[in-house]
Amino acid sequence: MADAAIHTQRPGGRARFRPGAAAGRWPLRGVALLYLALFILLPVAAIIQRGYGTGLGNLTGALSSFGAWNAIKLTLILAVLTAIINGCFGTLLAYVLVRFRFPGRSLLSTVVDLPFAVPTLVAGVMLSALYGPGSAVGGWLEQHGIQIVDAVPGILLALLFVTLPLVVRSVQPVLLELDPAEEEAARVLGAGQWTTFRKVVFPALRPAITAGSLQALARALGEFGAVVLVAGNIPNKTLTAPVFISQLLNQTSYGASGGPDQAAAVSALLFGLAFVIVVITEKVSSRGSGWLKA
């Protein structure tokens, strides 16, 4: 007892560990916030200043020049498609992984995480190895008039590859906590499997599916590594916005002018979208009083 009393009286002692007492927390809090400010806020400020600082008129001016809008349009369409397709298949995979028991289930769970571990560029190499014109599968598809690599389907596959785990890992924990008894009750009462899913499982999963799909959307809007080798990067056809930005910036090293301004404009637009998506995702997943509350 005496010992404890002495420790309490140590200057700035035990009080520091009470969560409410903020005084002693300033060093830790300060270092943490400084780190985030230096590494995240500062670069963000730079892009906002360069992209939006000159006014929205200049932004639209830079965007109206060759290829910029087409690149943005292609990126937006493919990102939305990616979010929808992986929203469905990601949910399906999560459902299969949680509710079904079959041999190789834990292996499947590991394989689903593969895109988290494999470098995105290597993902692109993988896809072109299988679906490129030189391989058996790619050659067969080409004979049947389907081109994957250096065409839009290749970009879509690359985006689907890198974003798959986002939806699965968002839905899985929620599904694990969902009591199977509710589904059994629905089935006993005569609901078919589809009705059970639609009326019982889906409403509970909706916030997680939305959050996962939004993460996939943001990721797909910005993906570079997986796309650059499979897209072919043909201007106005298979050139996505991130690859377009990188090409504009690469020109500067060879001395061409106008590149950085245009790159900053396209980047500012993409960055704005990414920021909005992050804020919405935060609201959806925290299930606060947000306007997208599910």
Partner: protein, 290 residues
């Protein structure tokens, strides 16, 4: 209320029951097949494809590829960047996680959203950010130029962008563990006379270790694989600022596909090792949470 009517309901439920069991048997089969087909087309097929191409040429070409100084330098650079990134993001990530899990202050949700931002921002834009800060006419360019420190087109900017990109992983894995953990054990240690450092290293750290290792493995994987941001800030100078991923990019650009496949498979195999680590850490973390 005839006898036939009373007999009907059991018959129909039995019928429905049979239909249900048959659908139950059919349903999962179809769903499972669909899920497996998707994984096969999207993930496993391509993995098999790349392994086939890399080993097709035989071990002679593999040996030649790794004998190149450029390749060795690229792997070394990738490793150095990964090591620095992981160390910085582990130390500061745990600090930020402690603050986010334990501290309360106005604007905390904004900070939490800020942590997630690197996951959503295109790596290419991250590269541009670094150019805007340190490149020609950038905010800090005069400061470093006066001291003769090269940031852009050199390793420092490559490290900086990689740190930016892998900031969220440790934080996002450690925060939920800290929240589940609560404060009781730490308070007990503190009451028994342990110092702050002792409390952290003897109580907090062992409790968060699996979540932390999971976050570290994810950071390492992301750092090894980074290409977009690094391409823009490094200038991809052969033998100098060329990482393993940038080497792959150049190999395919110069129609040296075979070397590209070999280096890509090496990175893939390394990341699969990391993945196995990730799965082990994740399972241990889940088991400990229960």
């Amino acid at each position: 209320m005839s006898a036939t009517e009373t007999r009907q309901p059991p018959a129909s439920t039995q019928d429905a029951g049979q239909r249900r069991t048959s659908r139950r048997r059919l349903g999962p089969g179809v769903l499972l097949a669909l899920a497996l087909a998707y994984v096969l087309v999207l993930l496993l097929g391509p993995l098999a494809g790349i392994i086939y191409y890399a080993f097709k040429s035989g071990f002679g070409v593999i040996g030649q590829t790794f004998a190149q100084p450029d390749v060795q330098h690229a792997f070394l650079l990738t490793f150095i960047i990964m090591a620095i990134t992981v160390i910085v993001n582990t130390i500061f990530g745990v600090l930020v996680a402690l603050v986010l899990a334990r501290d309360r202050f106005p604007g905390k949700r904004l900070v939490s959203a800020l942590v997630d931002l690197p996951l959503a921002v295109s790596p290419v834009i991250v590269g541009l950010m670094a150019v805007l800060l340190f490149g020609r006419g950038g905010w800090f360019e005069p400061f470093f130029a006066a001291r003769g420190i090269q940031i852009i087109f050199a390793v420092p900017s490559m490290v900086l962008v990689t740190i930016f990109i892998s900031i969220p992983f440790v934080i996002r894995e450690v925060v939920p563990v800290l929240q589940e953990l609560g404060l009781e054990e730490e308070q007990a240690a503190w009451t028994l006379g342990a110092s702050k450092a002792q409390t952290f290293f003897r109580v907090t750290l062992p409790n968060i270790r699996w979540g932390l290792l999971y976050g570290i493995a994810l950071s390492a994987a992301r750092a090894i694989g980074e290409v977009g941001a690094v391409l823009i800030v490094s200038g991809a100078i052969q033998g100098q600022t060329e990482t393993a991923t940038l080497f792959i990019l150049r190999a395919f650009d110069q129609f040296q596909d075979q070397q590209g496949y070999i280096v890509a498979v090496t990175l893939a195999l390394f990341s699969i090792l990391l993945l196995i680590g990730i799965e082990i850490f994740k399972r241990k973390r889940i088991r400990e949470a229960r």
